[in-house]
Symmetry: C2
Subunit: 457 residues, 2 copies
């Protein structure tokens, strides 16, 4: 509905929804999440309308192939195979983007924002790659972009960072935000099986996609970590600045060592504010987590995100990180927010960058304790040689431990040799490892995991 | 700023804030939380204004005694000793109530809502006792009442229930929401000390107030549980309908038995929807929690709330449940929400009841497994007698265990005798226990804890 608004001498036209008017939704994509959202919009309508005090209708649904057989019955809304029909429809108030990918989705989100239509999306790859551009467009047009479903599935981390925790300077965010890799690690730990066997099991149970590369190599977690960092610090960030490693190198033996030392192994995204330097630390890697920390108990496909704020202290959010229903829950939370904010005169709570650009701390400058595992020839003097190399780079050793391995390709016996190192810069460790790798007694490249020390709370 | 709004033939005056206008805050109460909120408003102002795109000023602060020496320096805002000065000040846009109690606070909140001023409060006792009336007033006046700080300290449970999780029918909420009692239970468990010694320790560390009655007897948790249930089910509820017991009966021996069986003991609030009967289950009591559930790991003064929704599945929120800073974080999240919604034409997200009144399931009808501990004379046939009584009421026994006690007042030796019982109605258990108490061999009243079975997820 359009209003003439008189403010002193000024008069202008604004578009605002009043109670009783039905909001018109355009849905793009009817895949797993899209059909979940559509079904929930229809099934829980009376609940949603009562809670949100808003009535709504699905007006149009865009799909790639209109003739495709679907599980979902289309009771409401006209099917089209061109998303432009939604963007160009003046009656449509908000658009839900659930097609994934970064080509058509980019055109669609751009087009919708330019047409003045708020967008709800869960497309993390799109936001990680083109977020800076899309948030700028959202800001310049005054049209919100809602992104709760892009991180942590049904966990309300985006709205919590943007609203409930808004008064906090975020000291750190540490999260388990990829369900597939966490499922694989949990299986390796609990069932004592190899990485390959665990990945195979995940695929059979439907917890790993046909192509699980981005889950395993850490880049899916990196996409989400980048979005969380943008939300926490109010500034677009460069995906290439993240230091990322995956879980391919984790072996069952690492869990044995970890347990012996009071840890487990999780693929973590770590975001930290370095106030004095004015930089952010942003990294994804398999990390040692103390067994008595709550994050150590997050198993299988579940996600958890620990946020430390200067005022609230430590908070942790836990829930299902992916899948049709949890993601639908997040999308629908945003849809209601979008519908509510259609009634706002000149404010929306879609993300808008507000801070100066911030530098990301180079990975070599980041400091943690480490777990380093070598494969060494089973001979005298190996530990002394390696320890001497660490000493040359002023790296302290807090423990060392060994476990018999099998034989090398040349038939020699070898041993797993593990060092727990005091905190030092990754660059410092790298220099020491370069020297150690040249030792005759060291059979293969070392495997390095960080040890996360959670501050006392 | 007031506008003339023209909509077709209709013309009316509305009060809406535009970008650039400074919102005026009235703060009532400058105790622990009040001073925390005041300090954070001043200290994090640039961050808050940038994130919320709103500028604000503290206009007036009401305190009981203006001349009292305070730690906090008043740099902004006029001090008064009458909250009516704030309610009657036309320039004040929102009021923050942080005086506690239910007498003056009730008059203040009523007065502010009637004067059209949105209110932010963390007063759980007020909301538990007078919430139904105040929410009705808020609804009829169209003036929001924001209550994030009333439950779970800094944990954003209220906004999550009202916004992010809005599309979910809430199946259950299970929470540890009283820090003092959780600190006492954790000390008893970890340091093997008595209830009295643990409470004493909590008081010395500042984790128990001078009068900790409501923390220990479960009623503080009941207040918060009632508020969570109102939010989850959209209807005012009667505080007297809650079944409440405290932690006074927990003994170190109970932790030993619990551990042996794979459990720990927590004071839980349990809220469950009984869809078929159209009732709610609402209870607070010390409960057995499986050691491998995340709630079992919530120690000391921390709180955690597990919410199960029909769409999102299980989510858990964890953080500091009380104290100056965490509570300030929650208050400020609401203040920003209130400031934002001053720009809304005819909607606010303050709680407004939307559902039909719902009956609370009588405690005797609720069903769980139980842990029952008796003090019995150390003689033959005791177990058989008690087991026979359970059998008469069709109550299954899944385990029994005993531990030597000391001697009764008459010098006889006695024994702790524990039964783990299959799920049955509390009323059924009560009838059996009535008979058992009459047995000669039973020295004192039995202690009963519920065993919580978390559904597979």
């Amino acid at each position: 509905m359009e209003f003439g608004l008189i403010c002193g001498q000024e008069k202008r036209i604004i578009r605002v929804h009043m109670i009783g008017e039905t909001l018109q939704i355009g849905l793009v994509g009817l895949g797993t999440v899209g059909s979940g959202v559509y079904e929930a919009l229809l099934r829980n309508r009376s609940l949603l309308e009562a809670r949100a005090q808003i009535s709504y209708a699905v007006r149009k649904i865009a799909v790639r192939d209109k003739s495709k057989a679907r599980d979902v019955v289309i009771e409401e809304g006209e099917l089209t195979d061109d998303w432009r029909d939604l963007v160009n429809d003046e009656k449509i108030d908000i658009i839900i983007e659930l097609i994934g990918g970064t080509t058509e989705a980019l055109k669609l989100v751009r087009g919708a924002l330019e047409a003045g239509k708020p967008v709800v999306t869960g497309n993390k790859a799109l936001l990680a790659e083109y977020g800076a551009e899309l948030f700028r467009l959202s800001q310049s047009k005054g049209v919100p972009l809602y992104i709760e479903a892009s991180c942590g599935g049904g966990i309300p981390i985006v709205q919590s960072l943007q609203n409930s925790l808004i008064c906090n300077r975020v000291d750190s965010i540490v999260g388990i935000i990829n369900g597939t890799s966490n499922y694989v690690l949990t299986s390796m730990e609990k069932s004592h099986i190899s990485f390959e066997a665990a990945l195979d099991q995940a695929a059979k149970k439907g917890y790993a996609e046909a192509d699980s590369t981005l889950d395993i190599n850490g880049w899916d977690a990196a996409h989400k970590g980048l979005i969380l960092a943008m939300l926490a610090y109010g500034t677009p960030l460069d995906l290439n600045a993240i230091s990322v490693s995956g879980i391919e190198d984790v072996q069952p033996a690492d869990f044995e060592f970890a347990h012996r030392l009071g840890y487990t192994i999780k693929l973590l995204v770590v975001i930290k504010r370095h106030e004095e330097e004015g930089t952010l630390e942003l990294r994804v890697q398999p990390s040692f987590v103390p067994l008595d920390h709550l994050l150590a108990k997050v198993d299988g496909v579940f996600n958890a995100i620990a946020v430390r704020g200067d005022i609230v202290g430590e908070t942790i959010f836990y829930g299902r990180g992916a899948g049709k229903n949890p993601t639908s829950s997040a999308v629908l939370g945003d849809v209601v927010l979008a519908m509510r904010e259609c009634r706002l005169l000149n404010y929306h709570s879609g993300f808008h960058p507000y801070a100066k650009e911030t530098a990301v701390l180079p990975a070599r400058e980041t400091v943690t304790p480490y777990y380093v595992r070598f494969r060494v020839r089973d001979q005298h003097g190996v530990i002394a040689d390696i320890a001497a190399a660490f000493a040359r780079f002023s790296i302290g050793i807090s423990a060392t431990s060994s476990q018999e391995g099998e034989t090398t390709q040349t038939g020699e016996p070898w041993t797993h040799l593990v060092f727990i190192l005091h905190a030092c810069k990754l660059g410092q460790l790298g220099s020491a490892l370069e020297q150690i790798e040249k030792l005759d007694s060291v059979v293969s490249e070392p495997v390095v995991f960080r040890i996360e020390t959670f501050r006392e709370s």
